[in-house]
């Protein structure tokens, strides 16, 4: 049981390595990351009705091994760096117009050089799996020791190092309020949310550093400014891609960052869409959506158990459990596909929001929900 509980969270690490190997092999294999994403969407959809509880021994202790899980999460930093290096190498070959031919490295046959189609595949593959770095960046953001720095570095690979501070100091504190950029109000679509949430969290981090440095009588332009430092951590990626391919490299990195941040904000979007918390009231299970179908739970290292996570933010992912909170009933992959088509998503989520209003919301939260409805109605009428 102990082995099974710990090994089941290795889907992303193994898939990331396969994606990395695919980019190295080149040719059609550069698309492996995209193909895996598609396969996992199907698996997640097919297994949506399987929900498991957290496993514990007779004394209620989790089977999760902290040292092993942390080793895996730390190991993902060099894996994500390697993904960027592999993509940069392919961009270098493309920009250099290298001849496409069979080659060998340490006994492995690979394709040297790359055409435009396969470079797009390599870029999408790297972007999708770099974006999934959020699950480790998120988990480690709640570890205030060396894990916090690893979280910052993983997120910096996607130009989103501010996330680590904003998630803990903004999202966890202001969840369900309009002060939380990561909580999507009713009526917003995932595309608009990605932009607003990204900018909002960065601004929060900017303001927080400004306030902290002011309290310490230090200049904003200081080595202690973690907002600036976060973007400095992203500089090596920019330098690498510009060196590798100039404008093409920059465009590829922009694509990686946009897709990665879209995945990050889509998770925020799905986790709290339309839920409301009265100001000053404690965060409770009802203020998050759970997505805990079996494949989502294992793939996303239980990040879908949002209800439990937001009440017990200090709890390791392998200890999180179903707490009977609001639940979409499907996994993240399936729901993500729905979010890509906003009318479809709104149509799907309506019955869940109605259920939330009737069975979870307090009277005060219902009043706020009604205000949202009338605001949306007014906006639609005006347009």
């Amino acid at each position: 049981m102990k082995l099974y509980v710990n090994l089941r969270y290795l889907i992303v690490p193994i898939s990331s390595l396969v994606t990395l190997f695919g980019i190295f092999l080149g040719g059609i294999y550069a698309w492996i990351g995209v193909i895996l994403f598609g396969i996992y969407t199907i698996i997640d959809t097919v297994t949506k009705d399987i929900h498991l509880r957290a496993e514990t021994d007779d004394d209620g202790n989790s089977f999760g091994i902290k040292q092993f899980q942390y080793l895996v999460m730390y190991f993902m930093l060099p894996v994500f760096i390697s993904l960027q290096l592999a993509l940069a190498w392919r961009i270098f070959q493309y920009a250099d117009s290298s001849i496409i031919e069979a080659a060998y490295f340490a006994g492995f046959a690979y394709e040297s050089g790359i055409n435009t189609t396969n470079l797009i595949g390599a870029t999408l593959s790297a972007a999708l799996w770099a974006g999934l770095g959020i699950i480790y960046g998120h988990e480690l953001s709640h570890n205030k020791k060396e894990g916090f720095l690893v979280s910052r570095l993983i997120m910096a690979l996607s130009g989103a190092s501010h996330f680590t501070y904003a998630h803990v100091y903004n999202h966890h504190l202001d969840l369900g309020h309009q002060d939380d950029p990561a909580t999507a109000p009713r009526g917003r679509n995932v595309y608009w949310h990605t932009w607003l949430s990204h900018i909002g969290q960065s601004k929060f981090s900017f303001d927080m550093e400004k306030k902290k440095l002011s309290k310490q009588n230090k200049s904003f332009l200081s080595f202690d400014n973690r907002w600036i430092l976060g973007y400095v951590y992203s500089l090596p990626s920019i330098i690498l891609f510009v060196w590798a391919g100039g404008l093409i490299g920059l465009l590829a990195l922009a694509a990686v960052w946009v897709i990665a941040n879209f995945l990050l904000e889509a998770l925020n979007f799905m986790g709290h869409y339309g839920l409301i918390r009265e100001e000053g009231r404690p965060v409770e299970h009802r203020h998050s959506w759970d997505n805990d179908s079996v494949f989502t739970s294992w793939f996303f290292i239980e990040i879908g158990r949002q209800c439990d996570h937001h009440v017990r933010g200090e709890t390791y992912f392998w200890e999180l459990d179903d707490v009977g909170g609001p639940n979409y009933g499907i996994g993240y992959f399936s729901l993500f596909v729905l979010t890509l088509v906003p009318p479809l998503f709104r149509s799907y989520v309506k019955k869940h929001l109605d259920n939330w209003d009737q069975n979870y919301a307090t009277d005060a939260e219902k009043v706020i929900a009604k205000q949202f409805e009338s605001k949306n109605f007014t906006a639609r009428a005006a347009s």
């Binding site: 709640h142 205030k144 020791k145 916090f148 803990v168 100091y169 903004n170 966890h172 504190l173 927080m208 902290k212 309290k215 310490q216 404690p282 965060v283 017990r312 933010g313 200090e314």
Partner: protein, 105 residues
């Protein structure tokens, strides 16, 4: 130097509000989580170091902060020895003051 490789596994004691009661803090756990584990109604809200509800004043002893408290506490509070219990491990036995909403003896 070889002390670096010796695993220290010492628990420490937090003596709360002029020795009204004690909290046993196991290595690797925070003051807040230890207090809650022992059934003490220590004030708290977020448990991730962002709300400041669990703040307390260290009278004596040393703690190991897990985060920079300056994001949440004012400079005057920091100067006076306030810390966040949810982000503090102990480096020695400590004396600490905390204000309970419902007075706890």
């Amino acid at each position: 130097m070889f002390g670096l490789f010796t695993k220290k596994n010492k628990d420490f004691i937090a003596s709360v509000n002029e020795n009204s009661f004690e909290v046993n803090v196991i290595k690797g756990k925070t003051l807040l989580s230890s207090a809650l584990d022992q059934g003490i109604d220590w004030p708290h809200r977020c448990k991730v170091g962002s709300c400041g509800s669990c703040k307390c004043k260290i009278i004596s002893g040393k703690i190991k902060p897990q985060i920079d408290f300056a994001y949440v506490l004012d400079q005057e509070e920091l100067d006076a020895g306030y810390v966040l219990a949810c982000q503090s491990e102990l480096k020695s036995d400590i004396e600490v003051e905390v204000i309970f909403k419902n007075k706890q003896e």
